[in-house]
């Protein structure tokens, strides 16, 4: 069987999203009702060789998976839902990096998760969160949300506003410990605290800056002036770092990056970054390169 046919037969007809028992009474938009999309994979979109050095992988923004369900538009750095590319499965324990846009008053109906550390970072607009642990809250730009799904959790995420879109990053990391007690957390960050410096927004340590997760990972956000140059020192030996350019252009380890590009680097203890545009926003995700 040809490779394309093999992949297609393996995936066609899959509706990845799910909604089960109702938590919310919000606008009916259960993700079970999503129209099935054609498989998007490495045979369908341009994927030039992304290995730019023996310890570096570059994922240009336009090579990401793309799904448009109308109310939801998602760009996926790694294989997710209908997007499958065997060369884009993960970067170390970083398994999902979705760049999502959700229409006003629409969203993800109640659906389950387990054994995953799930982080959401709103870029514009407000998300309304409800979960099976009784949490109900709003997260907005400047906030960070974390869920340790562990033995199992159900949640919904809706665009709170009926007049504007919400855009957010949805990030999943494999946990360093399976079957933990589910946990939810969110934090409002001071966005001024990342001007020309790294603002830690996530760590493995409860009590450290930002939220914490069950993984030896550290996330930082920054907003740099044009031509500002700095370094990032990795926290843990053996970890790699994945840089995602939220806004603007930058050069990282002599590699030019544009908006929404991603660059993964490993076998290093330090990286250098230079902003090429004003207010360049970068998310740095330091993660273990292997599972425990």
């Amino acid at each position: 069987m040809k490779r394309k046919e093999f992949l297609r037969k393996g995936l066609m007809g899959t509706s990845m999203f799910v909604a089960t028992t109702a938590l919310g009474e919000i606008t009916k938009n259960d993700i079970d009702e999503l129209k099935e999309l054609d498989v998007v994979g490495f045979n369908h979109i341009p994927n030039t060789d992304s290995t730019v050095a023996s310890n570096t992988v570059l994922h240009k923004a336009d090579t990401r998976g793309h799904a448009n369900h109308g109310w939801l538009e998602s760009h996926q750095t790694f294989s997710f839902a209908n997007y499958y590319n065997p060369e884009r499965m993960h970067f170390g324990v970083l398994r999902v990096l979705n760049d999502d846009r959700v229409d006003p008053a629409k969203g993800f109906g109640t659906h389950p998760h387990d054994n995953m550390e799930i982080i959401s970072i709103p870029l514009e607009g407000d998300l309304e969160h409800k979960d099976s642990m009784g949490n109900a809250s709003i997260i907005k730009h400047g906030d960070i949300q974390v869920m340790s799904a562990g033995t199992g959790i159900f949640h919904s995420e809706y665009n709170k506003n009926s007049d504007k879109e919400v855009r957010f990053l949805q990030i999943w990391l494999f946990p360093n410990k399976k079957n933990v007690t589910p946990r939810y957390g969110q934090l409002t960050l001071d966005v001024n605290d990342r001007h020309n410096k790294w603002q830690q927004i996530l760590s493995p340590n409860e009590g450290d800056a930002g939220v914490w997760i069950h993984q030896d990972a550290w996330f930082h956000l920054s907003k740099f002036d044009k031509d500002f140059e700095t370094t990032y020192q990795l926290k843990k030996k053996g970890n790699g770092v994945y840089a995602f350019l939220i806004k603007g252009d930058a050069t990282i380890e002599n590699i030019t990056m544009n908006q929404r590009d991603g660059l993964g680097i490993w076998d290093t203890d330090k990286i250098t970054i230079k902003a090429n545009t004003q207010d360049a926003e970068i998310l740095l995700m330091e993660v273990p390169m292997t599972m425990v």
Binding site: F6, L7, K9, G10, L11, M12, G13, T14, S15, M16, F17, V18, T20, T21, I31, S79, F80, A81, N82, Y83, Y84, P86, M89, R95, V96, H111, P112, H113, D114, N115, M116, A149, G150, T151, G152, I153, F154, W172, F174, K178, N179
Partner: protein, 107 residues
């Protein structure tokens, strides 16, 4: 064409129901779930599964024991961890497992 036969094992009943429903939405797959090791072994003995999906809540020692049993009974069986609870990763986990298996088979 023969459907890919999949056994999902997990301790969370609602997630199990969700994953099995998702599996059976794909016309190329046929899925069934087991909450306990006893159910899993009975189902395994009475069916010819291609893939075992290990979900959440299975204690490490039971997981090792199950995997050891499955591999002894059917050496070619594909056993993979399912992460995330059904929404998002299921298709790529199965596709990747089949892809790797297919590559190994033709090499």
């Amino acid at each position: 064409m023969k459907k890919v036969q999949i056994l999902y094992i997990g301790r969370h009943a609602e997630i199990l129901a969700t994953v099995v429903r998702l599996l059976n939405q794909n016309e190329q797959w046929q899925g069934i779930g087991a909450l306990t090791d006893e159910e899993a072994i009975t189902l395994f003995n009475n069916n010819n599964f291609d893939i075992i999906l290990l979900g959440s809540g299975i204690e490490e020692e039971y997981e090792k024991s199950l995997c050891s049993f499955f591999r002894k009974e059917k050496p070619g069986i594909i056993i993979i961890q399912h992460y995330g609870g059904g929404s998002g990763l299921l298709a790529s986990e199965i596709a990747q497992a089949l892809y790797v298996h297919h590559k190994a088979a033709i090499s």
